[in-house]
Symmetry: C2
């Protein structure tokens, strides 16, 4: 299977990576969140080739993550700004940075820190539950088959669309999702 085809999987992680999972792309977005907007600045800061940068920026514009904004007439020049869709990746970038702060820092400490203007403190991002507000630790979260996958299953395919239809149900889903099905067999 080619990487280009991962968006065929019925999985939101795969679909997200189909948009931002290419080399350099998440670093471009990091820089955008840190105030960089122009081609030449991205290029110098990332050390990426013009060729590659052009391609990545085009894809981000095509997918609606960035938009071109004219910043000068004669000659017309555009800069790249995060759209609402792009701004919504803030959490992804924060969590990537937080993991790096915790697991990849040397003795000198975290390269970048975050100040939460709501409270004025230097803080870390935590995952909390949209409903009860309590922390979402890995052990407290159970994935379940959602409506999107339900429908795919009704059509004979599973999360891994590339497998086709000629396989057992338990091959169409990863173990924890399969278990969630058999343990809560369609309340409907």
């Amino acid at each position: 299977m080619r990487w280009e085809d991962i968006d065929q999987q019925v999985c939101s992680v795969a679909r997200t990576l189909a948009v931002v999972g290419d080399r350099w792309t998440l670093l471009i977005l990091r820089d955008a969140f840190l105030g960089t907007h122009r081609f030449e600045d991205f290029r110098r800061q990332l050390g990426v080739s013009r060729h590659r940068l052009t391609e990545r920026l085009n894809k981000l514009v095509d997918t609606g993550v960035l938009e071109r904004v004219l910043y000068q007439q004669r000659p017309p020049r555009y800069e790249y700004r995060l759209t609402a869709k792009g701004l919504d990746l803030h959490g992804v970038v924060l969590m990537l940075g937080d993991w790096g702060n915790r697991w990849c820092s040397d003795e000198s400490g975290a390269p970048v820190e975050y100040r939460h203007r709501t409270c004025g403190q230097l803080v870390r991002p935590m995952l909390s539950c949209s409903e009860c507000g309590e922390p979402m630790a890995p052990t407290t979260v159970s994935p379940e088959v959602g409506p999107g996958l339900q429908q795919a299953l009704a059509c004979g395919v599973g999360m891994f669309a590339e497998l086709g239809e000629g396989v057992e149900l338990h091959e169409k889903l990863p173990p924890l999702l399969y278990k969630s099905l058999t343990r809560k067999p369609e309340a409907s």
Copy 2:
């Protein structure tokens, strides 16, 4: 600059992507969080070539994200389990999935949902502040130069180590970090 060298940047996002930013790697971790642990299962579910999968799994073991656990003698077989370091990527994977749920779902809805066993509800992950518990919306978070970057700057290099030492300070940092420096010029 080669992708392989991004870990030279004094940036936790870059360092994290140096570990998990290769093609397939975050999908391998997604599957691991969904209960997949064995080579043949990863391969079938992802459609990745054995060659590539071997390389990626080896790198994840080398970097301490996964560990090999013997699950059968004769012939000895190992499966791949998330370490504490790997489990700590849960937030990254959750946020990637949540963005995909919101921006890449078709009419049929989210492929996968999450139940928070703490409260029993189907929930979404939210980012909240470790200090005050309030939401960390993009507009309420200001990045600042942390001790790691401080030290790099003291050594003449900035976030973009590949630029070397012969550049102005404002070229060593992205705009928002540079501004954070000039606006809060070292309380020490």
